[in-house]
């Protein structure tokens, strides 16, 4: 029996004890082996003070006693205790008058008690049935010897106390008080030891033996006495607990539970009756209460009580509240009672009831948990696992190989479930398979972890590394990215010579990539750094491995994700020529450079790189693609071109189209289109868009080259590919947007000649298509409308007046003509349009065209119809606000309508504005415009335009006071907007808000500090 370690608080440390702080800390953590190692080294070091050196045998012995407790192997336990005993005897012999001599006697008593206990345990083994009385007799002898040492300790403490004055003034005679306190404390402790020995002696008799009862009664009486005398100390509370234990073993379960309840009800913080319990002992009281709970659960599990469900409830509650204590001895004790309760309920269910399946696995799971760590319960826990294996359907991994087999099987089952999940169209089935896969992967991860633990010294280290690596794989499959990353990085960094190391390093990278993809935008930076570190490890240590190439490609992907195509291209370009991934990497590098070119070309003149740099990007894009194509063509022979080859050719053709080299584009596209048309190649089908993109590029190239017949044919072929009108609508919108981007890019680059060519060629083609009276379909007209619309939008931002503006208005007009044609046909021919929604989108486009033409009244009429049908449509309301805004721009009046709304109608006898205006529009969006919502950008757009309209309105004011007020309002709008988000809507909006604020400040004759001046960095 062990009593609470500290009986009274606040004993100041002596000089040598301070030096031994570290040994104490090691012991407190349960690292007794390391404490012994440390103390032994300390003993060998020179310069250690004599007073420290003197206590080392005592301290080593104390740690040996503790380490013995945690050993499963009884022989090793005995060896440790024997060594401890010899060290203590050495200490007592060398320093009989040392102040720790009494403690040494207690420790000796403790060792003898432990040895006695072990004999008691042995006497209970079935194999020792015949020797039982002898073992019990030897145990008693040892316990009596222990009793003598405890008594010696008690006498020593008492003698020291007698040497001191009865009452010590704590402030006047500090030294005496300090000496008295440990002696006082030791005397109480010895009293507990002596009572405890009676309890242990009881255990040396059979349950029905009268002597057992006598000793238990004697122990109970002594504990009661101690409690009565020291009830306000930790010793008193501890004695009370052991009194309860004695009562339990005497069969007085009710009384025992009563005592436990009394102790559990004790509030450590507010226990006025326990005056010595202060803040420093709260933790000790908590520890005692945990132990009391353990004893209480033992009572509840007792065959005479059988309150197993209550055990489950209380143990689970404790475990939930104390996750960090689960591995402590008291935590293990409570868990052990929980496992016993599960088993007992399972047993009570009876064979064949089927309900055991519910309880035994739970018991086995808890027992497995206990068996994992050192404690007095792990031997019992292992026995429980063995007992319930098979009965619970539970498996047991007895050795490394067994655990590996079970792990592999679980992993295979998980992967099979994953495959099934991918193969089903039923979402609920897919979900079920995903759940099964997750559970199996979790099982696999557990089994691999067990395998590592079960590895013997002679196990092949490569196999152990395989287990570590596979554990990481299972974690990765479960989506536990960081666990997978840490585990795999461990293999890669610690065992770089292992065959598994490169794969592990790659897995670490993949896991960080998984984490990166799952993280929120603002949390991604850390993941990226780790990802880069993993990549660095791979590319530096195994530069020629396929894993390093995959790492380069993964990093390229990440860079693209981060809108950094140049870095992406560099990563792709770093894949060496001998690599299997070379061709794929070249194609990706080319596309990334092309993307970089498009991004750079779209920048404002001040941000845009010099023309030579742009040309260089273009050149590199072409070079990488051509390199890949040449390499593939060279090795192609008679075989069918691979997907990578076709994709590279298509990318290169797209670049030619965009740069106006239509002939070069068609030289690649014509054979390619022929190759893929009517092809049933699965790889192309899997890529979905590939064939479509090829036709789109061909269409663009034919239009650009002025080969309008072929262009029309390509358009028809494109239409024939799609089965639904709606998907074709999507393609035409894409085509329109691409055209818009191209026009915009050429305009920004000042490529007047190229721009003019594109516009002219398209206008010619579209005009030809629009004038066809026969065979007009929704698709064709929609394509024409979108193409005109795209060109108009592309030109509109820079052409606000002059002949360019006229051209924009004309393009909007042509688009409007196509859209009106659609609406007319739809009115005449039911089923002409694929859906009402598609028609609504056309009507909205028509509004935009009317706005672009400066026909604001017509735009409003169309809008009114749309808003009457759905006043809360975000797209329609935004368009409404823009109509008013541009109207105000054109005639320099009516800014209020853009701000506060217009188009009044009567609704429920109240006048209301159909178009909300930017103010109400922004207000309506605010609650839904969270960062990850699609409205986040729209809300910033609305808030920006609100401030902009106020600013413009201010400029129109003749009265300086009114003007100042409007400018203040505009500034407040911006301040409010930027205060609500931490990114101000992103870099683009930041720039726009900043610029507008500076304009506002300048208009108010103030210093133009922009956002930085209002505290936004």
């Amino acid at each position: 029996m062990a009593v609470a370690a500290a009986l009274v608080p606040g004993v100041p440390l002596s000089a040598e004890e301070r030096r031994l702080d570290f040994a104490d800390a090691l012991e407190q953590r349960g690292y007794h082996d390391m404490a012994i190692f440390y103390l032994q080294r300390l003993g060998q070091r020179s310069g250690v003070p004599a007073d420290v050196r003197e206590v080392i045998p005592y301290r080593v012995a104390r740690a040996l006693v503790k380490t013995a407790r945690s050993k499963r192997d009884l022989t090793k336990q005995q060896q440790d205790l024997e060594e401890a005993r010899s060290r203590l005897e050495q200490f007592l012999q060398q320093s009989p008058g040392h102040r720790l001599a009494a403690d040494a006697n207690r420790q000796l008593g403790e060792i003898l008690k432990q040895r006695g206990r072990m004999l008691v345990i042995q006497s209970h083994l079935a194999s020792n049935q015949d020797q039982r009385p002898e073992l019990q007799g030897r145990a008693r002898e040892l316990l009596h010897l222990a009793q003598r040492h405890y008594q010696a300790a008690r006498d020593d403490y008492a003698a020291r106390l007698d040497e001191l004055p009865r009452r010590v003034d704590q402030t006047e005679e500090k030294e005496k008080h300090e000496a008295q306190t440990p002696a006082y404390e030791g005397r109480i402790r010895s009293a507990l030891d002596l009572a405890g020995i009676q309890y242990e002696l009881a255990q040396t008799y059979d349950r029905i033996a009268p002597k057992r009862r006598e000793h238990l009664e004697e122990a109970g009486r002594r504990f009661e006495e101690i409690h009565a005398r020291y009830r306000t100390t930790m010793a008193g509370l501890s004695a009370r607990m052991w009194q309860g234990k004695c009562l339990h073993e005497l069969g007085e379960i009710g009384k025992a539970i009563g005592i436990y309840s009394e102790l559990l009800d004790l509030d450590p913080q507010g226990a006025a009756s326990t005056k010595e319990i202060d803040a420093r002992t709260i933790e000790e009281v908590k520890q005692l209460q945990d132990r009391v709970l353990h004893f209480r659960l033992m009572c509840l599990n007792d065959a005479r009580r059988k309150d197993h469900k209550l055990v489950i409830e209380e143990a689970r509650q404790w475990r939930g509240q104390n996750p960090r204590l689960l591995r402590s001895e008291r935590g293990m004790g409570i868990s052990w009672e929980l496992a016993r309760a599960y088993e007992a309920i399972g047993n009570a269910e009876g064979d064949g009831s089927g309900r055991r399946e519910r309880w035994f696995p739970k018991a086995v799971a808890v027992a497995e948990e206990i068996a994992r760590y050192e404690s007095p319960y792990n031997a019992k826990a292992v026995a429980m696992q063995e007992r319930l294996t098979g009965r619970a359907g539970a498996r047991r991994d007895e050795d490394f190989r067994g655990a590996m087999r079970l792990a592999r099987a679980a992993l295979d089952r998980g992967q099979a479930a994953e495959r099934k999940g991918r193969g089903t169209d039923d979402p609920s089935e897919a979900k079920r398979f995903a759940q099964v896969a997750r559970e199996e992967f979790a099982e696999a991860a557990r089994r691999y972890r067990d395998a590592v633990r079960l590895a013997e010294p002679e196990t092949d280290p490569e196999e152990v590394n395989q287990a570590r690596y596979m554990r990481a794989v299972a974690n990765y499959k479960m989506g536990r990215s960081y666990d997978a990353a840490v585990l795999s990085a461990f293999v890669a960094r610690r065992y770089p010579q292992s065959d598994h190391a490169p794969a592990a390093a790659y897995l670490a990278l993949a896991a960080h990539l998984q984490a990166y993809n799952k993280s929120r935008e603002e949390d991604r930076e850390a993941d990226l750094q780790f990802l880069l570190q993993s990549a660095e490890l791979l590319t530096e240590r195994w530069p020629d491995s396929s894993e390093a190439d995959r790492a380069r490609i993964a990093l390229g992907y990440v860079a693209l994700e981060r809108n950094d195509p140049v870095t992406a291209a560099r990563w792709y370009g770093a894949v060496p020529e001998h690599s299997d991934s070379y061709v794929e990497a070249q194609q990706k590098a080319g596309s990334a450079y092309w993307q970089a070119y498009l991004l750079a070309a779209g920048l404002t003149p001040e941000d845009r790189p010099a023309e030579e740099q742009l040309e260089q990007l273009l050149q590199r894009a072409r070079e990488h693609l051509e390199k890949g194509i040449t390499r593939m063509r060279r090795t192609l022979g008679d075989r069918e071109p691979s997907y990578d080859l076709l994709a590279s050719e298509l990318s290169l053709a797209q670049i030619h189209v965009q740069t106006g080299d239509y002939a070069a584009a068609l030289s690649l596209l014509e054979p390619l289109v022929e190759q893929v048309s009517g092809s049933d190649r699965r790889d192309l089908a899997a890529e979905g868009k590939f064939v479509r993109e090829a036709y789109k590029a061909a269409l663009r190239a034919y239009v650009g080259a002025g080969r309008l017949d072929e262009a029309e044919r390509a358009m028809r072929q494109l239409e024939s590919l799609e089965t639904g009108d709606l998907s074709l609508v999507g393609i035409y919108q894409e085509l329109g947007s691409e055209l818009q981007r191209e026009v915009d890019r050429r305009r920004k680059l000042g490529d007047a000649e190229g721009l003019s060519e594109v516009l002219a060629s398209f206008e010619a083609f579209l005009e030809r298509m629009l004038q066809k009276r026969d065979g007009q379909t929704f698709r064709t007209l929609h394509w024409i409308g979108e193409a005109y619309y795209g060109m108009a939008e592309g030109l509109s931002s820079s052409e606000e007046s002059g002949p360019g503006a006229e051209r924009v208005r004309s393009l909007f007009g042509s688009a409007a003509q196509a859209y009106e044609e659609i609406l007319r046909h739809a009115g005449e021919t039911p089923g002409f349009a694929p859906s009402t929604a598609a028609l609504d989108a056309i009507r909205l486009r028509l509004v935009r065209c009317r706005r672009g033409q400066g026909q604001f009244r017509e735009a409003l009429e169309l809008l009114a119809d749309l808003l009457r049908e759905n006043a809360r449509s975000v797209d329609v309301q935004r368009e409404g606000a823009y109509v008013f805004q541009e109207w105000a721009e054109s005639d320099r009046s009516s800014w209020d309508r853009a701000i506060y709304g217009g188009l009044a109608v009567e609704e429920d006898s109240r006048q209301t504005e159909l178009v909300w205006g930017w103010g109400k529009f922004a207000q309506m969006l605010q609650s839904v415009a969270t960062k990850d919502s699609p409205y986040y950008d729209t809300w910033h757009e609305a808030r920006f335009n609100l401030a902009y309209c106020r600013y413009r309105s201010a400029l129109e004011q003749a009265d300086p006071i009114a003007q100042g007020r409007q400018l203040d309002l505009a500034e407040q709008d911006i301040r409010f907007t930027v205060s609500l988000t931490d990114d101000q809507g992103g870099p683009e909006w930041y720039k726009r808000f900043d610029r507008l604020l500076r304009d506002i400040q300048r208009a108010g004759n103030r210093r133009a500090t922009g956002l930085a001046g209002v505290g936004v960095p």
């Binding site: 301070r18 702080d21 570290f22 800390a25 090691l26 407190q28 953590r29 690292y31 390391m34 190692f37 440390y38 080294r41 591995r327 994992r372 760590y373 972890r449 590592v452 633990r453 010294p457 960081y482 990353a485 840490v486 990085a489 461990f490 960094r493 610690r494 960080h512 930076e525 850390a526 990226l528 750094q529 780790f530 570190q533 205060s979 505290g1015 960095p1017």
Partner: protein
């Protein structure tokens, strides 16, 4: 260039607007130094002048200033200082930011300046463990440097800036920043700067040069408690270079010297024990010996968060080496739970 411009302004002082209006500011000194109450009337890079209620002026050297609590500052500001002192940097930063924006009142220039510095310093400290914050920390510190060239935080600011640059691998910029710190009129600041410069050399693997520099520093001797502390830091840093030169026995002896010499509660004990663990590992000594060194940090210096994370990382490896996988796993679990953002947790 920016450094040259700043040094020309060295002698300049700022007369605090709103002085002599009966405010009660408090200048808190570092350590147990007594606070000085009154009205801050003048501030410069090296000294703060406080007008006491008896109308007499008292000057406080800038290197003795822990913080200035201005009359009417937002209450959360001090909560931030307390949190920063106990190492809870995330909370500190939150309080600082709320102080800057949450009161609805217009803050005086000196209060704004204090807050700006705290935010920059706190971000810089956080960035040591979260490299993704380094650019932000550098920007904040640079902005403070440019906008408050005569702040009494001028030298500490450059120290933080140097540390951030060093972590970013911008060695030359870091060197320039430490050079500024070296121009401070106090010995402890100069020593700190020189130790930091030695560490830069270590980062460049110039161990011979670093050892020579550390020897020069050690020859200077201490004098004040802070200077003594810097000398101990220099000895530890020198030991690290000796490990780099594979002179393990000398390194170990030097570290043991620091361990014996430094007060047991001094935060340098954590760094010293980790350095000892590193040295023993590098020397190929039995794993248990290094384990003990790292365990010391785990058990007795867990409040030194960065060092604790490092110790747990190596413990997880060394436990495995001596066949204690459960303890290895425990160390790894605690590393992930207690220091989730640490660079050691995701190695």
């Amino acid at each position: 260039m920016a450094y040259r411009r700043c040094s020309i302004l060295l002698a300049a002082t700022v007369v605090v607007a709103g002085a002599l209006t009966g405010r009660a500011d408090t200048v808190q000194r570092v350590g147990d130094g007594r606070s000085v109450g009154g009205t801050v009337v003048e501030r410069s890079r090296t000294v703060i002048t406080v007008r006491r209620p008896n109308e007499r002026n008292v000057t406080v050297p800038a290197n003795e200033i822990e913080a200035i609590r201005y009359d009417g500052e937002p209450p959360k500001l001090n909560l931030g200082r307390v949190a920063e002192r106990r190492g809870d940097l995330d909370t500190a930063l939150r309080f600082y930011r709320e102080s800057a924006s949450g009161t609805g009142e217009v803050l005086s220039q000196p209060v704004r300046e204090e807050i700006e510095f705290y935010v920059a310093r706190c971000t810089a400290k956080l960035a040591q463990n979260q490299p993704e914050l380094l650019p932000e920390a550098a920007t904040q510190l640079e902005r403070f440097r440019d906008q408050h060239a005569d702040s009494h935080y001028y030298f500490p600011l450059h120290e933080s800036l140097g540390t951030v640059y060093a972590a970013q691998g911008r060695t030359e910029s870091a060197r320039q920043a430490f050079e500024v710190v070296r121009s401070a009129p106090w010995k402890d600041s100069r020593l700190r700067a020189r130790v930091a410069e030695g560490r830069l050399l270590q980062g460049e693997k110039k161990h011979e040069a670093a050892v020579a520099l550390f020897d020069e520093i050690l020859a200077e001797g201490g004098g004040t408690p802070e200077a003594e502390r810097q000398l101990r830091a220099a000895r530890l840093a020198k030991a690290s270079s000796l490990v780099g030169l594979e002179r393990y026995e000398e390194a170990e002896a030097l570290i043991e010297e620091v361990i014996d010499d430094a007060p047991p509660e001094d935060s340098i004990q954590a760094e010293a024990h980790n350095a000892l663990g590193d040295c023993l590992r590098a020397a190929g000594r039995p794993a248990k010996e290094a384990l003990l060194a790292y365990l010391y940090v785990d058990l007795l210096c867990a409040s030194e968060r960065e060092q604790h994370a490092k110790a747990l990382f190596y413990l997880s490896q060394l436990w495995e080496d001596i066949g204690r996988p459960a303890r290895a796993e425990d160390a790894l679990d605690r590393l992930k739970a207690e220091h989730p953002n640490s660079v050691w947790a995701k190695q």
